[in-house]
């Protein structure tokens, strides 16, 4: 007897196979796209990732609250017909200070490097300061902004094309305790520099008041325009 598709058993079999096939395709696609490779990370990597995400989310939560307050103040000012000039001035000062357009002052750390290191090492140090929560950074008198590039080999170090000697100072505003802790921890940046450049000395000092200059760069784009 030849099986026919009209046979209910055959139809049931085909339906069952199609169902399993569909479920498996969906599971496969979801497993590829779902966690962006998180499941393949080690427990140590995941712990670090979670810590970073937590810190970042706390900062974002604070920013949301701050912006919410700013918005409410503007709305109240608009309803009452009172001037929002002070709010606009505050917002302007805050953004200019953050972007590096104005000089800033505050607590922080001073890192003195004596001895020749190369551009990669200095770039790593700046990256470490950013990751540790620095609010503003300057290398000697050059305020570090987004487009600041440090480079050069040992003995030919430069920042934004300004030559640096074998002794220079990096200043960063931010919580001094956490910055010192992050830089001087076991296996931290200072230890790494000491291991890579045994002839260079790196010292880190907490400072009560630092004043960092504004950037000399023009940060107004000429090829990009605001997207509407």
């Amino acid at each position: 007897m030849r099986a026919s598709l009209r046979d209910p058993r055959s139809q049931l079999l085909v339906s069952l196979v199609a169902l399993i096939l569909g479920v498996l395709i969906v599971v496969q696609i979801r497993s590829q796209a779902g966690d962006s490779g998180l499941a393949e990370r080690s427990a140590q990597d995941l712990t670090l990732l979670v810590a970073n995400l937590n810190t970042r989310n706390d900062q974002l939560r604070t920013e949301v609250s701050s912006l919410d307050r700013q918005l409410q103040a503007l709305e109240v000012g608009g309803r009452n017909g009172t001037s929002s000039l002070n709010q606009i001035r505050d917002d302007l000062a805050r953004i200019r200070a953050w972007a590096g357009l104005d000089p800033v002052a505050g607590r922080g750390v001073e890192i003195t490097v004596s001895g020749a290191i190369d551009g990669h090492a200095l770039e790593e140090l700046i990256n470490e300061l950013r990751n540790s929560g620095s609010e503003a950074i300057a290398i000697e008198d050059v305020r570090v902004v987004a487009a600041t590039v440090v480079g050069g080999g040992v003995g030919a170090l430069s920042v934004d094309n300004e030559a640096l000697g074998d002794r220079f100072v990096v200043r960063a505003i931010g919580n001094p305790e956490s910055l010192v802790g992050s830089l001087t921890r076991i296996g931290g940046m200072v230890a790494q520099l000491a291991a890579t450049y045994p002839d260079a000395a790196v010292s880190v000092e907490a400072i009560d008041r630092l004043v960092l200059p504004a950037t000399k760069r023009n940060l107004t784009p000429s090829h990009g325009r605001p997207r509407l």
Binding site: G78, A93, P221, H223
Partner: protein, 252 residues
């Protein structure tokens, strides 16, 4: 022979379809088992909740960023409504707009370049270092620095705007930009002059990067020059807990 051909022809088409479907089913089951294999091997009791926590935190992060972008847009609109009232408000709003652009708080569009970095598909040789064959935070930072040197005015990595506070960090084989977890491949979009690619080609640092990372380790570096490149606004926090502006300088 003709007997065999006749037998094949006599097989009903639905049976052929079912046969193909069963083959696909077998393939998918095998693929699923292969994909699950390493995870089962490495799974420890604490990892599963950690993965879940990381995914939840990422979801929260996306929500916060959307909220921040929305709030900034509303604030900007309210501040703009002051326009036309007095000369002073108009001037302050103009400065505010310029400052926001300089800070990376406004999305930009313009000419530029899009680079794509992907992990090497070369197998790690015996005694080799696996991370040499993966895109690292240093690779991303090198490309960003080279793009600035080539004249870039705004850069984003997988949608994360590079700003004054941006750190790029390796955590195992993951990369964090602005503390956001990014998965490969990495797309680096840069707005700048139309000759950025030529400028990159003239840079010793770029040539050395390509020779080493692509030439020796097979990191996939590709690029595109679309008519317009879009770079999103920074949707993170303006962390200023310790800093105070000490003197207002003239507008940029």
């Amino acid at each position: 022979m003709s007997h065999l051909a006749a037998r094949i022809r006599s097989i009903p088409s639905w049976q052929i379809t079912l046969g193909i479907a069963l083959l696909a089913l077998g393939f998918l089951i095998a693929a699923q088992l292969a994909a699950e294999g390493p995870r089962i091997r490495y799974t420890t009791q604490e990892r599963s909740p950690l993965v879940e926590t990381a995914i939840n935190l990422q979801t929260q992060q996306v929500t916060f960023k959307a909220e921040i972008a929305d709030l900034r847009e509303q604030i900007q609109k309210l501040e703009d409504q002051g326009q036309g009232t007095t000369q002073l408000v108009r001037e302050l709003n103009r400065q505010l707009e310029q400052a926001r652009i300089a800070a990376g708080l406004i999305p930009l569009t313009g000419t530029g370049l899009v680079l794509r970095l992907a992990d090497s598909d070369q197998p790690t040789p015996a005694g080799g270092n696996e991370s040499d064959y993966l895109v690292t935070a240093r690779d991303i930072r090198t490309v960003i620095a080279e793009l600035w040197l080539a004249g870039a005015e705004a850069i984003a990595v997988n949608g994360e705007r590079v700003t004054v506070s941006t750190g790029v960090l390796d955590i195992g084989h993951s990369i964090l930009v602005n503390s956001a977890y990014l998965a490969p491949p990495y797309q680096i979009s840069a707005i700048g002059p139309t000759d950025m690619l030529d400028q990159l080609g003239k840079s010793e640092g770029w040539v050395a990067f390509i020779d080493t990372r692509r030439g020796h380790f097979g990191i996939d570096v590709s690029f595109a020059e679309p008519p317009t490149v879009e770079v999103p606004a920074f949707a993170g926090s303006l962390n200023l807990r310790e800093s105070r502006a000490v003197a207002a300088s003239p507008a940029p």
